[in-house]
């Protein structure tokens, strides 16, 4: 559906989804991700798009998170939309507030006119229906197992994907809990047109992150993530670590936002990726880390996934008594 070889899309990852990584996924036959919030100025953002284009002639998507943060404001959001339209990028992964509410219907119109495909990452059926209504091209249905901020009603991918797929007419992509060909086949069976993965792409040769992090993802299992942030109304899932233990302890005694902010700072996450210290900042990975066993190239990963998905489906075709 996306005019690429494999229906596998890389999800947004702050500090990690930059031009080289983005192009590696696209060159491997999937769709790479350029995460806009890595760039604070229009010039830097535009330069990153152009750099990605030098590294690949294949389509890639930009990710824009429409949530207020200390560093990235609604002015940034508008700038990202404008630049994407001017540069006519292939598509945008939006998450957070619906685009029409965050930047007005004129932003939707602008992108439509520029031919930029719009996808919203949602965790609830009502949000998917809203995106369809305002003219979005597809839905990323994110289950509770995903890393980052599962803004869901705590519904799992196994149930959310078919529920949304049967209720909207636009394509649905499964997010959360997928790391291999088995998950790809499962998502397609459930009615998705493709899958989005993020955690799995951290453990690839091309991801620019400290090797400790990649090794840690191989070591850790599916029960090694934890949900936090419920007390401040923004739940997140991250790798169990000393810092998240501390966060949960503060939440348990109703310590407020002020106390939590220093522990959750984005700058600390950047340092943790660079130094490989998994206990220094919350690393937003999902339950799918339990399925990560190695550090392939993006090409090896995607080739293997497609092969495995077909093999699994053919192997099990006779198991259902018909």
């Amino acid at each position: 559906m996306f005019g690429v070889k494999y229906p596998v899309i890389c999800g947004a990852m702050m500090w990690l989804c930059k031009p080289a990584m983005c192009a590696a996924v696209s060159n491997a036959g999937g769709i790479g991700n350029l995460t806009a919030a890595n760039y604070e100025t229009e010039d830097d953002f535009r330069a990153a798009i152009q750099e990605t284009r030098r590294l690949t002639d294949k389509p890639f998507f930009v990710a824009i998170t429409l949530l207020p943060s200390v560093r990235i404001t609604s002015e940034h959001h508008k700038m990202y939309v404008k630049v994407c339209a001017e540069e006519r990028v292939a598509g945008i992964e939006f998450s957070g507030t619906p685009l029409d509410k965050a930047a007005g219907m004129e932003a939707v119109e602008l992108l439509k006119k520029a031919g930029v495909k719009m996808f919203h990452k949602v965790g609830a059926l009502r949000h998917a229906q809203h995106a369809e209504k305002i003219g979005f091209d597809g839905i990323y249905a994110a289950g509770i197992e995903e890393g980052g901020h599962p803004l869901s009603d705590d519904v799992t991918t196994m149930v959310l994907t078919p529920r949304i797929a049967e209720s909207v007419k636009i394509p649905v992509v499964s997010v959360g809990g997928i790391a291999d060909g088995r998950g790809l086949a499962a998502a397609l069976s459930l009615g998705a047109e493709g899958v989005m993965m993020a955690s799995r792409f951290i453990a690839t040769k091309e991801c620019e992150v400290h090797d400790n992090i990649k090794q840690e993802l191989i070591r850790r299992q599916e029960f090694d993530t934890v949900i936090y942030g419920k007390s401040i109304g923004l739940q997140g899932r991250g790798l169990k670590s000393k810092v998240l233990e501390e966060v949960l302890a503060i939440e348990a005694r109703n310590g407020g936002f002020e106390e939590l902010i220093p522990l959750l700072s984005g700058q600390k996450v950047k340092q943790a990726w660079e130094t490989g210290d998994v206990h220094y900042a919350p690393l937003m990975v999902g339950q799918s880390i339990g399925l990560i066993r190695d550090i392939p190239t993006c090409q090896e990963l995607l080739d293997r996934m497609a092969k495995e998905a077909i093999e699994q489906t053919q192997r099990t075709a006779k198991l259902c008594g018909v």
Binding site: V155, L190, Q312, T313
Partner: protein
């Protein structure tokens, strides 16, 4: 492995997986698991004979080893040579040993790799893997991640439970490495199911997010339908006086002298007493929901999959449809990746 047409299993649900329902599933080509939780040994024996009078197909029965009276019931299952025994919430090594003597198969219900491996080590024939989305007792890990992880770590078959109601889900489970699926919520919403009509209809109205997942209903993580009664029960937490009365009902039901049950529970220590007190209250709430359709006091364990249930077919209609949908879903995967 057990000689059934479809790899579809009816989970053992108290007051739902009764002889009539188990036989309906068996006759439609699946495997029904009789729920022995609310029964004493004599009732269990009677129920097995009733199933055998209604079907000559294989069937199973469960033993939730945490419940009082479960070991006695399991002994009856072994004496009656029940083809499949499904144990949960405890160590069933002795059941495996005895069942294998007459060629019976034993399934263990598990929520993680550690328990699954232990069950495999003492000879269990298959595991039923309960994902977070399941009705009642799942844990944090969801089916999408739990099934492939178990499948690659075990030599014995994995049966997926939690999140399955149609062919899309079954195709997904098989792709993830499962060899079959167990369905609770879907099968309790069929024509033959003894679930009260009030709750069958309510299941059709409820969506995927209309469940509550909490330790405050029966003492362990438990998923139930989100209703006023369920919210009230969870808000309140453990109600000791109610447990005192409800446990008397249980003693009556299990045909145990109450004082014996009471002293037995006290002797098992505070945390176990607390757990059993929780279970006594949950038992009552589930029974009045399933049997009486009581919205005021009744609480029904359901999975998130309730949001994918849109009709009340017969079991046979359901199985035939699911098999067809599975084929269609698999064809879609092949087409997408070709």
């Amino acid at each position: 492995m057990v000689g059934i047409k479809y790899p579809f299993i009816l989970s053992g649900m108290s007051w739902i997986s009764v002889p009539k329902m188990v036989a309906a599933v068996a006759n439609a080509g699946g495997l029904g698991i009789l729920a022995t939780g609310p029964m004493n040994a004599a009732q269990t024996r009677e129920a097995i004979r009733e199933i055998r009078s209604m079907t000559d197909k294989p069937f199973g029965a469960n033993a939730s080893l945490m419940f009082p009276g479960a070991a006695e019931n399991a002994k009856v299952l072994l004496e009656e040579k029940v083809p499949v025994i499904n144990f949960a919430l405890g160590k069933g090594d002795w059941i495996v040993k005895e069942a294998h003597k007459y060629g019976g198969k034993v399934f263990a219900t598990v929520v993680n790799v550690k328990h699954a491996k232990r069950a495999q080590d003492f000879g269990t024939d298959a595991v039923i893997a309960t994902g977070q989305e399941a009705a009642a007792h799942g844990e944090e890990v969801t089916s999408l991640v739990l099934i492939p992880h178990l499948a690659e770590n075990l030599k014995i078959p994995v049966i997926a439970a939690g999140g399955f109601a149609d062919g899309r889900g079954i195709a997904a489970a098989l792709a993830l490495g499962a060899e079959g699926i167990a369905m609770g919520t879907r099968l309790m919403t069929t024509k033959e199911s003894p679930l009260h009509d009030n709750f069958k209809k309510l299941t059709l109205e409820k969506d995927v997010y209309d469940t509550l997942f909490s330790k405050r209903f029966d003492g362990i993580l438990c998923r139930v339908m989100k209703t006023d009664a369920a919210q009230k029960a969870i808000k309140k937490g453990l109600n000791w006086p109610a447990a005192f009365f409800n446990s008397q009902d249980i003693a009556k039901q299990l045909n145990l002298p109450y004082i014996k049950l009471f002293l037995g529970v006290l002797a098992s220590g505070y945390s176990n007493s607390k757990q059993l007190a929780y279970l006594a209250n949950a038992f009552k709430a589930i029974r009045v929901a399933t049997e009486n359709g009581d919205f005021k006091e009744g609480v029904l364990p359901v999975g998130q999959v309730q949001g994918l249930i849109h009709d009340i077919p017969t079991v046979a209609e359901l199985f035939e449809r699911i098999a067809k949908e599975t084929k269609a879903a698999q064809a879609k995967v092949n087409a997408a990746l070709d």
